[in-house]
Symmetry: C2
Subunit: 153 residues, 2 copies
């Protein structure tokens, strides 16, 4: 009933970062989001939020890269998981989603901390992060904890 429906998405801006390769995953790294001039008015009031949700389009991923299952970060010591149970890029729709700290807003330029997107990645939406998005008492699988632990050592 929906399967053939085509949805088309507009780019609203793009990412600028000096980070290269795996540096983009460093949570302390600052990046800029440059919003196209036609959407400047749409930023009004955003500076009053400390955090925003950034949706971006992983434009290095082509549809033939799509996987149904992956080992997180390609690690064989972690279970083979469905792509929807991971944040892997190789999803049916390569949409990235990261919640970042909003540091500064200057005209059409947002400076943010912790955006794990490469330079020139197209941005497709920005949403304010609010108290409904901060869930408490969440549960995650053991593999997730194992992965995080290994990142820190």
């Amino acid at each position: 009933m929906f399967n053939n429906e085509m949805i088309s998405v507009k780019t609203i801006g793009y990412v600028r970062t000096k980070a290269r390769g795996s540096q983009v995953r460093e949570k302390t790294m600052l990046s800029q989001i440059i919003i196209f001039n036609e959407y400047i008015k749409a930023l009004e009031g955003i500076k009053d939020f400390s955090h925003i949700i950034v949706l971006f389009w992983l434009n290095k991923i082509s549809s033939k890269d799509m996987l149904l299952k992956v080992h997180p970060r390609g690690r064989d010591d972690l279970p083979l998981l469905g792509i929807f149970a991971t944040r892997s890029m190789f999803r049916p729709n390569p949409i990235g989603l990261t919640i970042v700290e909003l540091i500064k807003v200057e005209k059409n330029k947002l400076t943010v901390r912790g955006l794990d997107a490469f330079d020139l990645t197209p941005v497709i939406d920005i949403k304010p992060y609010d108290f409904w998005d901060t869930k408490v008492g969440i549960k995650v699988p053991e593999w997730w904890k194992k992965l995080e632990k290994s990142k820190k050592t």
Copy 2:
């Protein structure tokens, strides 16, 4: 450089809910997400997360409905804000994003609590919600607190 780039998005499933009209905003309401059979394998392991992020396409909104500024919930007593400072539907890309509690997974059917999407809304992505998504010490504007307070009374 990006402005004319066309991005097309696939529907991966759809929402089923008995809620009608403003009932869809009731946070205790259960809904189902039906994933198309071709993506069933992509759900493996998702049941071990207590919460998921659901991205859906607000297919009742046409591109001519897009606004740059809105009063949240149409309320004149709240400031006129840029669309990116709100969760309004009338955005350049009408993508809805809600973090929901994952109650049950049966084959291609996810039962979730708190999904504010209408019946038959196309779903475009599902991501696990993890500890990187739970920000502490966040700040939101006064209008946001005023809006929430008025909902409870």
